[in-house]
Symmetry: C2
Subunit: 614 residues, 2 copies
């Protein structure tokens, strides 16, 4: 006996019970397809997954996984597991019901606000349902390890998470109970963290490529003012909630918060006209100011009549220190008048210090700030820090507030009349802005977050007091990374990206069944041949769905097969009399196969499909 | 190329990533073994699973699964899954976070009391963490199915459950968050339910046999006074919380509640002496009465002096009707004076009607009841129902209460002086009692509940208003079964039943790794040979743990290998110089193997082990 045959026999034996049940008969399947979209569904994946009987709503944002949906979920889990194991990740499983203390240590018990499901046990002890597990993994490593020799380590789990979303939406795209792969890396040195991060990045690319997803890797946090390295994997989809930018050549992608602005052109400071005040009645808005200035014959940098881009908006914000004293600092942000402040970008720029717009009280406390006419001069005179948009380059000329009612200053030159040492990324990004990498322009796109990799640094290890003996025998605080994949969300994402107008269209890598054999002929011989075909394919290791429902018309069965979305449908129909069956590869032209050679042809096609989707 | 070789190649390709990581190196494993038992651990499995780094306590009754523990858990899950699929079970997955309403419908929201984890979401909506899912599965079938043609169906899930146990104990033997396989059967007719029940019984036997567990199948609820068929699978263990009885020949096992009493011998009513009152001063207790009666020369049924078994205790209880009126009914229970009432058996006998001991108020309301001297005569005279222990057979003679202070009746004959039509199983079971099946006597044993199968009938389908069109086109209420296996608990049970004084001893079917290769030789060639051996075994499809830790002594490694408990340990040690390695099958004598043929010998042994444990 050839040794391989022995292995196959052994495998067959090991899988015996499984093989016996590998053909799933639709006559017995726990399935009901629906003709109508569920009332609460807006996006295609949600509608189709419910109509095709993959998932069922149990409560707002909480879903049950029916047989077909669970198969897809498990296949995705397995792909994630394989790629995590390939980078040396070790799978463990932490509870979902967690004690409060660790989350109090890091402040997240409060920070999470309403997003956290909180409860008390019978003894009145506070508990929570884990939204993510940084605290718990840190504690676990603290409990298990004490020497640098134990590190580096990458730990992960594929586990049910809970977040009490304010607006759960789009079925499993944003649920309140969902499956996530979360992993955590622990390293003594920053280089180790960088390596763990790079490994995860590669593993995530493998996962999403194997799933056939169209996605972008977006730089997620600007390094401008602190914050560690972080990237988001966003599946491109109009159903997405996140906006991201991509350069026209596709080589650059980032979250709006992370986009860096191309600095404006500089001009010599010498030879520019001196700044001068101008009385500007009824010019409290930029539009009014531009109209007035143009009427006065003022020109902008280009020599053309003044536009909003030649005016300089001075936005006052208050930034609060995070130390014990929590000092509230007024700061001026200078941006060209044709751009709004993007508050999310502003927040990211000052992170972790919270920022808010200056209040009436702030203005009242500083009478030199004249609302509607604030300019950089008063700020500089009163030692209020000024941050400028990178477009406000040295030597550029601006019309800006004159710090007195109905007064502006013209010919205010950047770097001469106000400082430009500190720049800030706070202005909105617009479609057509130059790409930060210097190639082409930016487009705005919508995406669904499917993965996030994050260099945490020592925030959690410090908070949880995780200390490890380093090579010199001193206690040191390890550096951490945290990495997530929205596993159950991916089921929705793949459905969203691959469906057509008839139904779901699963890639071979995650389809619940690779082949769907349909009896569409009342002849008993045809039914027997279809069953034999299903058995042959199953024995060859394929997962087969078999539509053996006796009383349904071929039309109903075909509609169901389109809705359910297996990659290969084989119809044993009218042409069976001529010794043929029809192969319908989803999204491709049907072909006729001889009954005798059909199994071999189908097996080869499925294998090709499995390879191409990786 | 032989066709089997093609399949193997295909499998290899499909498993490539997995194969790469199949050898687990202890130098990198997330593991720390402990020398000391955890302070809170009492039972062996708890101590060993923590010491060997399989699990870690996160909160009271809540555990984290570390790499080795998770492997065991997954293997058990897979065996359960295979056997459930083999009986046609369809796997789905319901949420753990559930809405309140369905559990209000069945009354369990209240009935569960403190055992239920309850919480409110951000909108103040009441939720719970599912302790079991009868309500949800019933609703799901209601949502999906409407015709008898859709039935029968068996649905199951392997899922995390939550119960806020008052006294979580013994590690994962009784936790507050745990993994359970729960399944539910739906049938139109009672015969269908019986069949689904039989299928589950068979599947459970297969599961527990494959896991190598020593268990008893215990009849769980007496059919005497209503209640559906139910059996518990109890793993025999002194660490168990449940008491059950087993007959001396092992053919009968039951929960104490379900044991039926062998009826006493009957005697002719004719020719017996007439009942007569006797003044019995200071005889309020059975002991006092027996001493007094013996001193008076009274004899029992056997003609010997009176013993406690010749006296008849008349216990008054109050049973409350479950209908709207909730009438409270006084009932007399007559048991031989040498036996106590077993309250759990009493409860089971009246289930679902709640029962409690008669109160002072009951006595006060019925002045004919003389405390300490209550006998059947007053009960019969005042139409209070009387239930008798089966030992109180027709024609037996008793000394019992005379319904007046310091008075008893002697020669009270069952079936003549009081009715015996209604019997009840309420007396305690004692070691040595005759087995109900007529063979041998009963022993009392302790066990851990690992499975429970239950014919629910129409309780939940009625409560949730599940109606299905039957063959005649009428709406009918399906009958249900519910079936559970404590999956995570099984990890503890197997550890408990198989460990020895050195550590865990896993059967091949669930061991995290089948083979543990240990380098115990500082020679570089030995280390290389050990690695090659590990790779060869892994390539042959075995799961291999490889102790490659460079700086530890052989003694430490051997101790760890005993604690961790893989079924086969292979030591590449001193004898490697002679071309030999040592095979240590756990619990068996070590043998020496030639390096060259070692892989083949080990593979065969593992396969044999895998077969024998099934």
């Amino acid at each position: 006996m050839c040794p391989a045959m022995r292995v196959v026999d052994h495998l067959r034996e090991a899988c015996q019970v499984y093989l016996l049940t590998m053909i799933t008969r639709m006559s017995q399947l726990f399935l009901r397809t629906l003709r109508d979209d569920p009332a609460d569904a807006e996006v295609a994946s949600h509608k189709l997954l419910v109509r095709a009987g993959y998932i069922r709503r149990t409560a707002p944002g909480i879903y049950s996984w029916l047989p077909l949906g669970l198969q897809v979920l498990r296949r995705i889990e397995q792909i994630v597991r394989e790629e995590m194991n390939a980078i040396g990740g070790q799978e463990i499983s932490l509870p979902a019901l967690l004690p409060k203390e660790p989350y109090e240590h890091t402040g997240r018990w409060d920070e999470y606000g309403d997003l956290l499901f909180r409860l008390k046990d019978r003894k009145g002890v506070d508990c929570l349902l884990g939204p993510t597990h940084e605290e718990m993994f840190t504690l676990l490593v603290k409990d298990m390890f004490n020497s640098y020799k134990d590190l580096p380590t990458i730990l992960y789990q594929i586990q049910t998470k809970y977040r009490d979303e304010e607006r759960p939406r789009a079925g499993i795209l944003r649920g309140r109970e969902f499956v996530m792969k979360d992993s955590y890396s622990f390293d003594m040195a920053d280089e180790g963290l960088a390596e763990a991060y790079a490994k995860h990045r590669r593993a995530y690319i493998n996962v999403f490529d194997r799933l056939g997803i169209d996605y972008a890797i977006c730089t997620a946090i600007s390094g401008a003012m602190g914050g560690s390295r972080s990237e988001e994997f966003l599946a491109v989809s109009p159903a997405g909630e996140d906006t991201f930018v991509m350069s026209s050549d596709g080589n650059y992608a980032a979250n709006a918060e992370a986009v860096t602005t191309t600095p404006g052109q500089t001009y010599p400071l010498d030879g520019q006209p001196a700044a001068a005040p101008v009385t500007t009645p009824d010019c409290a808005t930029i539009d009014q100011l531009v109209a007035f200035a143009a009427a006065q014959g003022f020109t902008g940098q280009s020599g053309e009549p003044v536009t909003a881009a030649d005016t300089l908006k001075c936005v006052l914000v208050a930034v609060t220190d995070t130390d014990e004293e929590k000092t509230r600092n007024l700061v001026g942000i200078l941006v060209p008048g044709d751009r709004e402040i993007d508050f999310k970008r502003l927040e990211a720029a000052f992170d972790p210090r919270p920022v808010e717009m200056a209040s009436e009280a702030d203005f009242a406390a500083h009478p030199f700030l004249v609302k509607g006419y604030v300019g950089p001069r008063a700020l500089v005179d009163h030692d209020i820090p000024v941050y400028v948009d990178p477009r406000v380059a040295a030597g550029t000329r601006w019309i800006t507030g004159g710090d007195a009612p109905e007064t502006h200053l013209v010919d205010m030159v950047a770097g001469r009349d106000f400082p430009i040492a500190d720049t800030i990324e706070a202005a909105e990004i617009r479609e057509g802005d130059p790409a930060p990498d210097g190639h082409g322009t930016l487009t705005l796109q919508r995406g669904i977050e499917i993965g996030h990799i994050f260099q945490l640094g020592r925030k959690y290890s410090t908070a949880m007091d995780l200390k490890i003996l380093d090579e010199s025998g001193k206690l040191a605080i390890p550096t951490m990374g945290s990495y997530g994949i929205g596993v159950s969300r991916l089921v929705g994402v793949i459905a969203e990206q691959t469906h057509d107008d008839k139904g779901l269209c699963w890639p071979v890598s995650v389809a619940p069944y690779q082949v769907h054999v349909v009896i569409a002929n009342k002849d008993a011989d045809a039914a027997a041949a279809a069953e034999q075909l299903a058995i042959d394919l199953s024995n060859a290791g394929l997962d087969v769905l078999f539509d053996d429902r006796p009383k349904l018309s071929p039309g109903v069965k075909f509609k169901d097969s389109e809705l359910l979305g297996m990659p290969f449908v084989v119809v044993v129909g009218r042409s069976f009399a001529d010794g043929q069956v029809e192969l319908r590869p989803r999204g491709d032209e049907p072909t006729m196969l001889d009954v005798a050679t059909a199994p071999q042809s189908i097996i080869e096609l499925v294998r090709k499909g499995a390879t191409s989707s990786r």
